[in-house]
Amino acid sequence: MSKEDQYDYLFKVVLIGDSGVGKTNLLGRFARDEFNMESKSTIGVEFATRTIEVDGKTIKAQIWDTAGQERYRAITSAYYRGALAALLVYDISKYQTYENVERWLQELRDYADSNIVIILVGNKSDLRHLRAVPTDEAKGFAEENALRFIETSALDNTNVDEAFQTILKETYHALAKNQTAEDKQGGVPGQGTQIVVPKVDNDDESASKCC
């Protein structure tokens, strides 16, 4: 593990939502600042990572981008376990993808940890002339369901960082709050959901980093 790879917390995050809403490009934009016009459909899951700072702590997000098609649900839902946060994405120009948000929430209830932090993401906000989902409607839905909400465009890089930052901050704060509560109750520190990476200066490990 290289020095730049050191972090205080490691969060597992999942990206879910209907096929074609732009999950892969959202992740590409966040992790590598790339937008690929020629991206292919995601088969199973794909993985990317990025490290950010929250309240002086280094948080590494390991993000699993999942295939949207129903048939892959059996495979992808296995990745929900242990995820601390989820970005539930729909396409603001396709009402059906917004309607299906309910089904995705049910998926999370069924397979994810109950305290998973969720943000509803209306992607493709650059398609103003094709908008089919009014912002207020989605915002209202998010409030009713205790979800965070944001509209993004991976294409013109609007709000993508904000979406991930918001969810990671929220997750960190939720954890910190739980941690305080646990400490007060004499709970086992750090059990289950967060890690502190040992501050090692191990040359061997640095040398093993190759890409």
Partner: protein, 482 residues
Amino acid sequence: MASNNSNNIASPTPTATSSFWKRMPVYAPARVYMKTTDEKKEIDVCKRTSWIASPPALSPGTSYFDQPLSSASSRHGSRPGTPSIQSRRDDAIRKRAGSNNSSNSGIQPPDVPSISRTASATSRQSMDLNASISRLSISRTNSLADSAAQLPVNLTREEKFTKILSSANVDSDELRKLSWNGIPDRHRSMAWQILLGYLPCNASRREQTLERKRKEYNDWATQTFSKGESALDSELWHQISIDVPRTVPVSKLFRHEKIQKSLSRVLYCWAIRHPASGYVQGINDLVTPFYVVFLSPYIGKYADPNTCKPSQLPQPVIDKVEADSFWCLSKLLDRIQDNYTHAQPGIQRQIVKLKDLVERINGKLTKHLESQGIEFIQFAFRWINCLLVREFSLNNTVRMWDTYLAETDGFSEFHIYVCAAFLLKWANTLTNQDFQELIIFLQSPPTSDWTHKDIELILSEAYMYKYLYDSSPQHFTTTQTQ
């Protein structure tokens, strides 16, 4: 304040995967193995001849509509097992020592000498290839030597194909044997169609069969789409419509609207005929090799599909290519349909098989992957779902499929050995990587500069692994740990 077990948090961990097995006990690894083992028969290696030489499970010329929708049965049963690794090694060494019995070897990729011949003697890869093969102590005689004897030895590869394919009754064994090492471009379309059992071996029946099959498909497709898109299954059509533009998007051919419409029709028609699986993302990738190969006779002998002008292709040509692609896709998917049914049991089974195989070949690697919290499903799922099409260029995939079609169970069984060879190729790199590096490397291995030589090397290694490890479960050195 915190635990230092990053893997428990960071990955779809053993916990995550085991929960899948818990929900889907019917697909649990133990069952898979019991079933596989039950079906294995101890037979002498000489009997491999029969499966190398046997025709495809689906009989040529039979109407597709007569075929059962699910053909999972073709995955098992038809292929006999082989003796233990040691006895096979002994067998191979005995033959090498001179006791050649021309009818019972069957242990080399047919016509291996021509791999060596085509590979440059100075190429490191070709040396590796030859080394791989010689490690096996492979005798040059093989099970198909009898049929090869019918051809004059001085014919070039191209001429051999011309001769076989122009005969009144194509010898499919001989065609398989020749095809294993690659099919010349101008013969590929016909050879693939014969190997798949779409085109009859008997020349006199071909024209009539093609005409009938093409008409059958085209009439049906026309009827299906006659009432416009609104009459189609909207969810299915939507999925296909968003995937087709994402199919080989770098190719000029597949970016063209005319071709995209044609692909959409193939996928839709296939999906409604196969409700058990329906259209599953990734199947779109599997049509593309057929499409470019079947189009090639119409766009010039060696024309690059990327340089052809799809707008100039006459509709009757598209109709023919589309119909042929549909039928051949059907033939291919019939053999691996349980890769695409609910919970994708075929893929699950093959991932278990792949993991066990790699464990037996290179336990150090699997141990390292395990120690880093890597599950095979995380990287191998796509390899199997899309038959490695996503990992290689279309051109390299086409070369790989020459061999897959020459193998009896190329797309189901042999593919796992290819996946193993592909993974093991990077073993040295992988053993120095941590979880994150491993996942990122394996989801996009560096193959962009790969040529047919690289593909042929992997195929040969796969063949070697198949020969050494197939049907030898008693040689498992480790047990399931999860």
